[in-house]
């Protein structure tokens, strides 16, 4: 008795977005079915692993992280280079913490200098994320867009109540843009409509539906990513953009990833625990449909890169 063919026949693809410049220009997305189901559709581009660095020497990062980078952590360009050369980062995500009004309130000039130095130091695609304060980001991100014109970076992020400045900056600089929503699929769709209505092409948009760490909202993030991808494959063009996850950022906030074995004797050594927390979060989200995975811990980078290589085998 032959088994019935239960493969799905989807009517729409995920869009492809191209990041960076030659020789390391990268394309993400383009899938014609759910993640890694090679028997059912095409997964033309793998999930890329980015490492996150920040624009200032981190004051409150745990030693489990900082000791792996040594002195390189004092300078963003050196730090980016170490991530790529020593730890195999396929992209660099530069998060601009230092410019936040509450954390240093550094200037747009500082941000532009750091962005340029990082861009000069590595030739992998660059993601640059603002600080989350709208007024500051609306000053800084356009300056960076101008300074890095032609570098085809991915700038973040546009939200429902603050997108016009970034749209203009990305249009002018020829960059790609992250659209952000707070674990709300309806807002995710709405932000994409708003930026699309402003004339920004959807095939230069990457969606950030917000990442929840394991134990802190992973399943919400997973469900939203999965539901969005199913809708996209079924024909919803507004949900058809590739997706980015900020795993390192979220995981390093949680106590399970930070607490020392002295504080929590039953939790095991933190130098294994932290990367595993990142890897567990990331590996689940890979299944929901993540095209860029931003991690902090080099050990997690190795695990996820190996996992992606395995999943891409047909």
């Amino acid at each position: 008795m032959s088994l019935p063919d239960v493969t799905e026949k989807w009517t729409n693809n995920i869009l492809q977005v191209t990041l960076g410049t030659e020789p390391n220009q990268v394309t993400i997305g383009g899938h014609t079915s759910l993640p890694f189901l090679h028997f059912e559709g095409e997964t033309p581009n793998k999930t890329y692993v980015a490492m996150e660095i920040i624009d200032v020497e981190p004051a409150d990062w745990e030693s489990v992280m900082t000791e792996q980078f040594g002195d390189a952590i004092k300078n963003p360009a050196d730090w980016a280079k170490k991530c790529v050369d020593d730890f195999g980062a396929e992209m660099i995500c530069l998060s601009l913490y230092g410019i936040h009004p509450d954390f240093g309130d550094l200037s747009a000039e500082h941000a532009v200098d750091v962005a340029k130095s990082v861009s000069d130091a590595v030739d992998v695609p660059l993601i640059i994320w603002g600080c989350g304060d709208n007024d500051k980001d609306n000053t800084v991100l356009p300056a960076i867009a101008e300074a890095l014109k032609g570098k085809n970076v991915l700038l973040g992020s546009a939200a429902e109540d603050n997108y016009k400045t970034l749209v203009a900056a990305c249009q002018m600089g020829g960059h790609n843009m992250i659209t952000e929503s707070p674990l709300d699929i309806n807002i995710a769709k709405q932000v994409n409509i708003l930026v699309s209505d402003s004339g920004f092409p959807l095939d230069r948009v990457v969606m950030y539906p917000t990442t929840g760490a394991l134990g802190y909202g992973l399943e919400y993030a997973y469900s939203i990513m999965e539901r969005g991808r199913l809708a996209a494959l079924g024909g919803d063009k507004m949900m058809s953009c590739p997706v980015i996850c900020r795993v390192g950022t979220e995981v390093t906030r949680v106590k399970e990833a930070k607490a020392s074995i002295e504080e929590q004797p039953t939790w095991g050594p933190v130098d294994k625990r932290e990367p595993m927390w990142e890897a567990m979060t990331a590996s689940a989200l890979l299944m929901a449909g993540a095209d860029i995975m931003i991690l902090r811990n080099p050990k997690a980078v190795e695990i996820i890169k190996n996992m992606v290589a395995d999943l891409m085998k047909k």
Binding site: K189, I193, K237
Partner: protein, 262 residues
């Protein structure tokens, strides 16, 4: 929601004259405008007054094909006109339509198969239009069996449970709704289900209100296709809203606009 735009029909003066004078402009205009309005297919009907239906149908489909490759529903009761129309149009096709009686299906289904066309099978048999759900189901089941006999894929079978005007057959709309939900359960995957929406409101007052309300009710019961006026914006907004309420698309504040992008 799959809308078959109904405007290219010889019962409209501009189309009738276009056929007579071989004037392509009105035909091109309505083909492109219906597609822009969101139609997924175009119904092509030479109308009741045209004498040489075969020639007229060939001219009409060829003229439409000059501007679009979209699915064409060749709409005629004359076999020769249907055959010629399907041959001339090529590409993606719907055979509109055959009655649900064996003799008719034996004649029309092979033609559909030959042209790889989807086929609309009406809930009408030797006894006419059924008055109840059970008889509609019986005709539908016979249609599915015949389609299988002629090796027509279920995805190409479209059942029309026949909507009658509410001012003359007021008990019928409820029967049609019930029939829609039960026809869906006849097979897995189920056949497509279509209604000629204009029939429900023929010669009624407030025809737009009646037809778009019935459309949303049909969507609630599981209908997935309609032959309708693609230009009716209130109808289209009601349709989009009905699909939203059926969880077919993700809600966003600009949900009407989002639908139109797809």
């Amino acid at each position: 929601m799959y809308i078959v735009g109904e405007r290219i029909n010889g019962m409209y003066t501009d189309i009738k004259n276009a056929i007579i004078n071989k004037d392509k402009e009105a035909v091109h205009k309505h083909a492109l405008a219906q597609i822009k309005a969101g139609a997924s297919a175009l119904d092509i009907n030479v109308g009741p007054a045209t004498a040489d239906k075969e020639d007229a149908m060939v001219w009409l489909v060829e003229t439409v094909r000059e501007v679009t490759d979209i699915t064409l529903a060749v709409d005629t009761a004359k076999y020769e006109a249907m055959k010629a129309g399907l041959e001339a149009a090529g590409g993606s096709l719907i055979l509109n339509s055959t009655k649900g009686e064996d003799a008719a299906m034996d004649m029309w289904l092979p033609l559909a198969k030959e042209h790889d066309a989807s086929v609309i099978i009406l809930n009408i048999d030797e006894k006419g239009v059924p008055s109840n759900v059970e008889d509609r189901l019986e005709i539908s089941m016979r249609g599915l069996a015949k389609a299988m006999e002629y090796d027509i894929d279920i995805d190409k079978v479209i059942i029309d449970p026949i909507a009658l005007p509410v001012n003359v057959a007021q008990a019928q709309p409820r029967v049609v709704l019930e029939a829609i939900s039960q026809i869906r359960m006849l097979s897995d995957p189920s056949p497509h289900i279509i209604i000629g929406l204009s029939n429900i409101c023929q010669r009624c007052s407030n025809p737009g209100l009646i037809s778009r309300t019935f459309l949303t009710m049909c969507i609630g019961y599981g209908m997935d296709m309609a032959i309708a006026d693609a230009y009716d914006e209130e109808q289209n907004e009601a349709l989009i809203t009905a699909e939203l309420l059926m969880n077919k698309n993700i809600y966003c504040d600009s949900f009407i606009e989002a639908y139109c992008q797809d």
